[in-house]
C-alpha cells in the first residue's frame, strides 16, 4: 500500500523499486521501519501514560515519594536495546554485503559515468562510444537481462549518481573510481538527479535513464556508433583554419562563410566559434571535452542534463543565453547574432 501510493505520487519514490539493489534495500527498510515503529509506540505510550497518570492535582501539595534508581530496571533497559541493535545490525549487514560485494557477471555492460559541473558524461568502453546526460542501459532481469556495472568518477568536484527507483546513490569523486550496479526489471524511463552539492546548478543536474529492451538497446548502440552524416560539400575542414586564428565573432554580413541559414553554413559558423573548444562532434574538428559531446545531440530528448526538452526553439534559446535556463552554469553566452545562432541551430539539428 504505502509503496504503491508513493509510486503513484512521485516518479522518484524510493519505495517503488525496479531493480535488485533497490528492492533489497527496500525490504530492509521495512524491517527497520517496523522495529522503529514498535519502539516508538512503546516509549511514547509510556510517556503519555505517565503524563496523564502522574499529573499534579491542585489539592495535593505534598511531595511524592523519592526514588533514586533501581539496578534491575536499569539493567533491563540497557540489555534490551543491545539486543535490538544486534538484530538491526545483522539485518543490515546481510543486505550491505549482498549488494555491495556482488560479483560482476561476465556478460555485464560496462559504463563509465563521469560527473561534470552540471552534466553527465557516459562512456561505453565495450562499444567505444561517448554519450551525455541521458543514460541508456538494457533491461537487467529475466532471460535476456544484462546487468549494468557503472564506474563512477568526476572531472571536477564531488557529484553523486542517484536514480531512486533503481538503487541507492554512489558518489563521484575526482581522482577516484567508485562502482555500483543496476539490473532494471522493466523497460521505461527513470528519473534521478545529482545528490551531492556541486555548485550553483546542482539542482538542475538532472538525470534520465532509459531502460531499453535488448533490441532497442542494440539499435541505440548502433546509432551512436555511426559517425556524423557528412554534410553536402564535404564537411567543414576548409576555411576554418584562418577563422580560428581570429576567433572574434564574425558579423553576419560579409561573412566569408556565407549567410544562408542552413546546416552547412551552420557548421562553418560553429567551427569558427569557441564552441569547439568545449564540445566534440566526432569526425569533425570539434573535439573539446569541457562540455557534453554533441555528436548525437538529436538522439537526446532533453538538453543540458534534462533542464528542458530538446526542441529547436529551446536549443536556439539555450545557445543564445544558457543562463536563462541554468544560471551559473559553465557554458557562457556566446554573443552570437541571431542569424549565426539560427545557422548553428540548423547545423546541430543534423546531429542525429
Amino acid at each position: 500500500m504505502l509503496p504503491r501510493t508513493a509510486a503513484a505520487f512521485s516518479p522518484t519514490s524510493i519505495f517503488s523499486t525496479q531493480s535488485t539493489p533497490a528492492r533489497q534495500v527496500n525490504e530492509l527498510s521495512f524491517f527497520v521501519l517496523g522495529i522503529s515503529a514498535a519502539i516508538f509506540l512503546a516509549v511514547s505510550l509510556l510517556l503519555a501514560y505517565a503524563l496523564v497518570k502522574f499529573r499534579a492535582r491542585s489539592t495535593d501539595t505534598a511531595e511524592p515519594p523519592q526514588v533514586f534508581g533501581s539496578t534491575q530496571i536499569e539493567l533491563s533497559w540497557t540489555i534490551i536495546p543491545i539486543l535490538i541493535v544486534t538484530v538491526l545490525f545483522l539485518g543490515t549487514a546481510r543486505v550491505l554485503f549482498s549488494v555491495q560485494d556482488m560479483p560482476k557477471p561476465a556478460s555485464a555492460l560496462d559504463v563509465t559515468a563521469v560527473g561534470h559541473q552540471y552534466w553527465w558524461e557516459f562512456r561505453y568502453p565495450q562499444y567505444n562510444i561517448t554519450a551525455a546526460n541521458e543514460l541508456h542501459i538494457p533491461v537487467g532481469q529475466g532471460t535476456t537481462g544484462r546487468t549494468t556495472f557503472l564506474k563512477l568518477t568526476s572531472a571536477d568536484v564531488i557529484h553523486s549518481f542517484w536514480i531512486p527507483q533503481l538503487g541507492g546513490k554512489t558518489d563521484m569523486l575526482p581522482n577516484r573510481v567508485n562502482e555500483m550496479w543496476l539490473d532494471p526489471k522493466t523497460p521505461g524511463v527513470y528519473l534521478g538527479q545529482c545528490a551531492q552539492f556541486c555548485g550553483a546548478q546542482h539542482a538542475k543536474m538532472l538525470l534520465t535513464v532509459y531502460v531499453d529492451t535488448p533490441e532497442q538497446f542494440a539499435s541505440w548502440i548502433a546509432a551512436q556508433q555511426k559517425p556524423v552524416a557528412e554534410l553536402a560539400n564535404g564537411g567543414a575542414a576548409a576555411g576554418a583554419g584562418p577563422a580560428l586564428a581570429s576567433p572574434v565573432p564574425v558579423a553576419g554580413a560579409g561573412n566569408p562563410a556565407g549567410d544562408a541559414i542552413d546546416a552547412l553554413t551552420g557548421q562553418k559558423v560553429f567551427e569558427q566559434q569557441a564552441c569547439i573548444n568545449c564540445h566534440a562532434v566526432s569526425g569533425t574538428m570539434a573535439n573539446g571535452r569541457f562540455g557534453p559531446d554533441l555528436t548525437h545531440l538529436m538522439s537526446r530528448k532533453s538538453l543540458a542534463s534534462c533542464a528542458m526538452a530538446n526542441t529547436p526553439e529551446n536549443l536556439k534559446a539555450w545557445i543564445a543565453d544558457p543562463s536563462q535556463f541554468k544560471p551559473g552554469c559553465l557554458m557562457p553566452a556566446m554573443h552570437l547574432t541571431d542569424r549565426q545562432n539560427a545557422q548553428i541551430t540548423a547545423y546541430l539539428q543534423t546531429l542525429k
Binding site: 505517565a50 533497559w77 545490525f89 539485518g91 543490515t92 550553483a200 551559473g328
Partner: protein
Amino acid sequence: MGEGTFPIPHETGAGIAAAGGKGTYLEVIHSWIVTVDHKKLGIMYIVYALLFLVVAGVEALLMRIQLAAPNLTFLSPQTFNRMFTMHGTTMVFLVGMMILFGLGNYLIPLMIGARDMAFPRLNAFSFWMSALAGVFLYFSFIGGNGLAGTGTAPDVGWFAYAPLTERAFSPGHTIDYWTVSLLANGIGSIGTSINILATVFCMRCKGMTLLRMPLLAWLYATMSFLTLVTISPLTAAQAMLMIDRYLGGHFFDTQAGGSAILWAHFFWIFGHPEVYVLVLPVFGMVSEIIPVFSRKAIFGYPAMVAASVCIAFISLGVWAHHMFTIGMTSVGNAFFTLSTMLVSVPTGIKIFNWLATLWGGKIRFQSPMLFAIGFLFQFLIAGLTGIMLSVSAWDWQLHNSYFVVAHFHYVLVGGIVFMLFSALYYWYPKMTGRMMSEGLAKWHFWLMLSGFHMTFDLMHIPGLLGMPRWIYTYEANRGWGTLNMLVSIGGFIQGVAVLIFVYNMVRSYFKGAIAGPDPWDAWTLEWSTASPPPAYNFAVDPEVGSRRPLWDIKHPEDMDSAFE
C-alpha cells in the same frame, strides 16, 4: 530562616538594570564590554545567539519561500546556495554553540557554588573571539568579492566539501571569510571548554564531590571534553584549507593528487561529535528541569553520568556514517553502522531514566516542563530516524535527501531549540529577577509545536520521494509541490512563535512579576541566592551534603544526604 539555610544576599530592584543603573548609558555599555563576570558574559552569549537565531531563521524562511512550489524564481540559485550555507553555519556555530556556552557560563559556577569561572579573563577573551566569528561570517555579505559592492557570501554548504572550496572552483574571498570565522569561533570554543573543565574540577564548593554535582555540570564537562577533541580537528582542517587557498598548498587539490575524501573525513570527525556537543548540555538541562517539575529526584544518577560519558566516547568513532555513499568498503560500512547504532544504548538509558523520573511524580505543566516534554517526544522520533539513517544500505537511498534534513532538524529544532526555550523559561527569573508571562509562553509553545510538526514531520516525505537537499528548485512532475508548500507554511508558524517568545522576553524584563530567589521550588544551589545573583554570587561560600542541597533544607525529615 533557621539553621542550615543559605543566606540570601539582599539586592533590591529587579533586573540587570539594577546592576548597571548606577551610571550613564556609556558607562553601562562600557561595564558590559570590559566585564569578566561569568553572569554578564553568559547573558551576552545568550543575547548574541538569539539575535543570530532570528537572522538564520529568516534565512531559512527565505529558502522556504523559494521551495514552496516548483520552479519558483524568488531567489537566484547562487543566493539560495548562500542562504543554506549561512543558515547552517550560523545555526550550528553562532546559535547552538554560543547559546549553550552562554547558559553554561551563567549556570555552572552558580550550580557548583563557585564565585566565578576558573579563568574569568580567558572567559571574556573566548566570548569576544566567538563573537568576532559572527562579524567575519556576515562581513562576507559585503566583503566576499572585495568591497566593490559585489557582496556575496559562502555558497558551499556548512560541510564545505573539497575540492569545491579550492581556489579553482571558488574564487573570491567568500570561503576565506567562512574559514576565518570558524577558526575564530573554534578558538573561542576551545578557550571556553578549557575554562569549563577547570571550573568543574577545581572550583566546586565544599562538600560537592564529583558524584554530588548537578547533572548539568557533568554534561557540560563531558561536552567540553568533546569540544576539545572535535573542534581541534576542524581547526586543523581549516588551517589546511587556508594553506591551500593562500600558500598554494595541495591538501585538497585533486589536480595535484590530493584527496577529496580526506576533507570529508576531517570534517565529519569534527562534524559528528559536534552534534553531540550540541545535544549533551541539552541533556543536562532536561536532567535539571524534569525532576523539578515532576517533584522527584533524577532516577539513576550514576547511570546518567556513565551514559553521558559513553555517548561522548562512542561518538568519536562513528563519523563515517555521513559518508556511506562515498565508496567505503563493505567492512567499513558495516563497522560504522554498528558503532552508530551503539549510541542508541546509552541514549536509550537517558530516555528511560527521564521517563522513570516522571513515573510516580506529581507533574506540573508549567512552561519549562511543556517544552521539556516536547523535547522528550521529539528526541525519541529524531533518534529513531537517526537509527534508520545508520542502516548503511538504506542510507544509500536516504543520504543527502530531505529525509536527512528532516532528521537533523528534528534533533536540532525539536530537541535542542525546544530545550533551549525550556531552559530560558526556567532560568530567566534567575537571570533577570522577573517571571516570564505564562500566557504568552503557552501561545509560544502550542504555535511552536504545531509549526514544528507541520514543517519537519512532513519534510520526511519528500525525502522518501527522492527529493535531494541543496536544490534551489525542482520540477513539477516530481510530486513534491504540495508537501513543500505545507512545510513552508509550518516554517512561518514557527517564525511567529519565535516572535512571541522574543516579545515575551522583552516585555517580562520590564513588566514581569518579581520572581524571588526560588520561584520553581527547586533544589540546586543557584536557587539559594538572590535573583539576579550579586556579582559575588553567594553571600557565604556554600557547603553541601548531597546532590540536592535545597531539598535537604526544605525537607529536614527526608534528607537526601541520609541515603548517600
